[in-house]
Structure formats: C-alpha cells, structure tokens
Amino acid sequence: MPTRRLKSAALAVAALLCVTSAKAQSPYGIGRVATPAEIAGWDIDVGGEGSKLPPGSGSVGHGSEVFGQQCAACHGAKGEGGIGDRLVGGQGTLGTPKPVRTVGSYWPYAATLFDYIRRAMPQNAPQSLSNDDVYAVSAYILSLNGLLPADATLDAKSLAAIKMPNRNMFVGDPRPDVKNPECMSNC
C-alpha cells in the first residue's frame, strides 16, 4: 500500500510539473486553461459525418408534433417554406433553370441538420430544445424529404449513417473562372 501511495504521489507531482511546463510554453502567459466541463457546455459543433452527435433519440412522429409547435409558423406545416426557408422537395431540380434548394435536395450532410437546429432554431428561442427533440425534428424533416421512413427513430448512429442525395455534388473553388480580355481601345 505505501508503495502505491508513493507512486500516486509521484504521478501527481509529475502531472503538476507537466501543467507548469505547459504553462511556461505559452509565449505571453495570457488566459487560463479551460476546464473539460466548460468546454463540454460550449462545444456544440457537430461534424458533417456526425462526429460529436450527443446521446439521445427522437421519432418522426414526435418530430411532427415538435415541428408543428416550434417550426411550422415560419417553415410551413409540411416544410414548404414561408418566412423561413423551404425545407422539403426540389430533388432533381438543381441542374435545371429553376433549382429548388432544400434540406432534401441540397444539403450534403444529415448531421448538419442536428447541428443547425440545436444552435440556431427555433429562431425565437435557440438552444431551447432537448437533444431528443432535435433528433425528432431532424427525423421529421428527413422523413418529409423521403429520406427516412415515417416510423423511424433517429439517434447519433442512424443520423450519421444517412447519405444525402446531393452529397457528391459539391466541388472546390476553381476561381478565377472568368476572363475579361482587358481591351483598352476599339472594344
């Protein structure tokens, strides 16, 4: 036992030294270390592939109810749009003269739905929905777009697994893509 205690004491000292030397590497010594709890409270960005999606789940059915209460006033009862963006339809229109860009037709990642709804929606009370409700609303919007069955339930794993139809249609920035011949006279 004494040996073990000695060992843990030595580890604690080593850890302390580590922290001290880490601190010393800061060129200006400004700011303080953020605690894991502080980071957990603010770290809300979810990766496109679904990294950092939180625990919880929600069904299409429950999502329909939450959507009706929280979202429909701006986005329409079936996500057809209003003051807020249209969320539904438009698949197959992007290469036509009248493209309709919605979650279903345009968004490359399903997990972004969770990220965006949690951080910014509903517009009058962002970050007020529970994670379960955010999963449910995401499920309902995906279901309206034919990307999820009406009896489905979403969680971190199943949301990350959804492949959006427009996923592979994004390309990098090729600019400068337009050339003006720079004519000075007799143009």
């Binding site: 880490a22 601190k23 590497q25 800061s26 060129p27 200006y28 400004i30 700011g31 303080r32 270390v33 953020a34 502080e38 980071i39 603010w42 770290d43 809300i44 960005d45 979810v46 990766g47 496109g48 003051i83 992007l94 290469g95 003269p97 493209p99 860009r101 979650v103 345009y106 968004w107 490359p108 990642y109 972004t112 990220d115 965006y116 951080r119 910014a120 517009q123 962002p126 970050q127 427009n166 249609m169 994004f170 390309v171 990098g172 920035d173 090729p174 600019r175 400068p176 893509d177 337009v178 050339k179 003006n180 011949p181 720079e182 004519c183 000075m184 006279s185 007799n186 143009c187």
Partner: protein, 429 residues
Amino acid sequence: MTKPPDIDRNFGSASRRRFMREGSALLGGAVIAGGLAGSEARAAAENTGNLPPNVPEWMKTPGDPMGTQPYGAPSPFEKDVIKNISKTLPQYLSASGRTPLQDLDGIITPNGLFYERHHGGVPTIDPAQHRLMLHGLVDRPLIFTMDDIRRFPSESHIYFLECSGNPEYKKPYGKTASDLVGLLSCAEWTGVSLKLVLQEAGLQPGAKWVVAEGADSAAMTRSIPIEKCLEDAMLAYSQNGERLRPQQGYPLRLLVPGFEGNMNVKWLRRLHVTAEPAYSRDETSKYTDPMPNGTAREFTFYMEAKSIITRPSGGQRLSAPGFHEISGIAWTGRGKVRRVDVSVDDGKSWQQAQLQEPVLTRALTRFRLPWHWDGKPAVIQSRAVDETGYVQPTLAELLAVRGDNYVYHNNAIWPWRIAEDGEITNAHA
C-alpha cells in the same frame, strides 16, 4: 513633426461655424438634407438672406455650447445619409442593411454607416461576461476575458469587408450604387493577430481548420483554413478607433481579410481547432455557389477584384454639361488594386484612372478621373485590375460561366447611363 500653428486655429473656427449652423437649423426648423438636395439647400439659404452681401444668421448668435452632443452626430442637414435598409424584407432578424456608398468620400466607412448582416439579430453583450474559448487540436485549451485579449500585442489594419451576395445575378438590379454593392464597407480595425492567440494555446499537428462561432442567437459558425488563420486573420475589438459597434460584433469579432463577409464571425465566443471543416449549415447549404449543371462550389472564400463609380452614379443627376469628376472605389480580396480603368463611351475605350494613395492590401482604393460631360447621353463604368493581373469581368462574362442561379461573388462591372437631362440610371436595369 512640425505643424503650422494656424491649422489648429482654422479647425477651431470651422468647428465653431459647424456648431452655429446646426444650432440655427434646429432653431429655424429648416432641416434640409445635403448631398443631392444641394440646390434645395441653396434655395433655402437664399430665402433666409444668408448669402452675400448679407451676414448669415449663424454668425449673429452663439451656437450650441460645449457638451450639447457628448458623443457627436452628423449635421442635421445630412439626416438622409443613413443605412439603406429595404422596407420589404421577409424578416429583420436574419437580414442585411447597406452602406450609402454614393454619399461617402474617401475609403473609410463611418461606423454608423458600416453595412450590417446578421443571422439572428444583434445581441447585447456585456463584455465583462463575454469569454473566448480556444480548444480542440491545441496543447492547452484556453479561456480569455476581454481584458486578456487586450493584453496581447495589438495591431491596426485598414481592411474592407464585403458580403458575398453583393449583388445577386438576377434582375431586378438596384437603382443606386448602394442598392448594387452597398454590402461593402472599410474600416481601420484594431485587435490581436489570430496567430499569436493560437500560439498561446499551442497548435498540434493535424490542425487544419479553425471553426469560429459567434455568441449571437444563430451561433453563426464558419470554418477557416489554418493557413489564413496564420497569415493575416485577426481578432478585432476596435473599429475606426472606438470599440466595435454591437452590429459589428461587440465586443470581439474575427477578421479574415479578403474573405467573404460572413466568415468574419461577429460576437466571437469560440475557436475550435480541428482537422476537418465543420460543414456547418452556412458553409454547405447557404454560402455555396450553384452552377448550371447542378454542382455547387463550396469554400469559395475570396472576394475577387471589383470597382464601382460612386459619383456620378444611379439616382443622382448631373446639373449641367461641363466638368464633373468621376470618382469611385475599387478593391480585391487577393491583395492590392493595381489599376482602375474608366470608360465614358459605353465600353468602347478605356482610360486609366488616378488612384488615391495609399493603395493598401485588402482595403478600398479611391479612384478618380477628371471628365467633361458634353451634355449628350453617355454610359460610364469602371474596371479594376488587381496585383495578380486579374481583371474585373462584365456581367455578361460572369453569367456565361456561372448562369444566373449563382448567388454569390458577383463582381461585375456596373455601368451607369447618363441621359441628356443629366439623370443617371443603372444601365443594366
């Protein structure tokens, strides 16, 4: 540096005259807009007998005493020079308001007229309760107070900011320079180099992106490539000498010079160092550029070279044939403006405009060309060339490549049509 003593004296008397003029206007209730209403102002002055040989009213009575305006405001005669905010927007929480470019001189936008774009309204943030969190692929995740941020070595730079949707590609096109490209402003920013702040936390191998997040109700989020973060990005807390306005991100905003406006995240609360971009809603479904073939360009950061004549411009009127200086602004997200060409014959020939020094990297550049208008109908336009050799394109050239469903990064040449009566309109409208 020596300064002639009379400069201070002259300034003093000029500001005294200004106070008196304002006082008189308020007393008389004769508040008249300046700018285009110049002739009206002159007419009013004639009526009140303020012209020579009479002694103006504002010289016969003292003006407002010191302290009448503890902050200061423009002359009441300039009351119509305000932000250009559409009255028919579907909503005003995620919305934009434009700088009245045609009413401004020089390259610096006054803070009260700086363009605005927010995605969830303007938050009121107590700086004492604001924190910047820096975490992710760093040796030490850190939290900074605003006092902490201001302890870092500071720097100041003049940079333009431009919204990427400025203007869209579809008709109806706007009437004035502000309607067309008023989501553009320029200021002197003071803050700390983002590189210094990142070094404070220690970047780990694999750090390729920094996800920046605002403390507004949209928690606006954009991913910035690490190269830009280490090049010239800064965290700004002051604008044109005073603390940021709430509309510009008080108390702290990110600046990524030359990149599209929404990436310059306001009310900055968090920097997350990552290996991959966040693929946030705003960088996938919003600020991306749809091509006619159904693909979409993503991560289109740079604002390319652009210019516009602001005087004479749409909505204004040339009073008479004769001398008129053509003046405008040019800018490029890719560095410095090298040259601005101006055509006064509907694009048949072009001549080089004079650039006002200093020509700064990623700042507005003022250009001028002396011009004698012969009183006949004319079309005038400007064309910027930047230091990479890139030439500002025509709208037709852009539409031929991108189609009219492209939404952002419209940097077209914009011609103004001058009618025989001097009326100036948008030649594309």
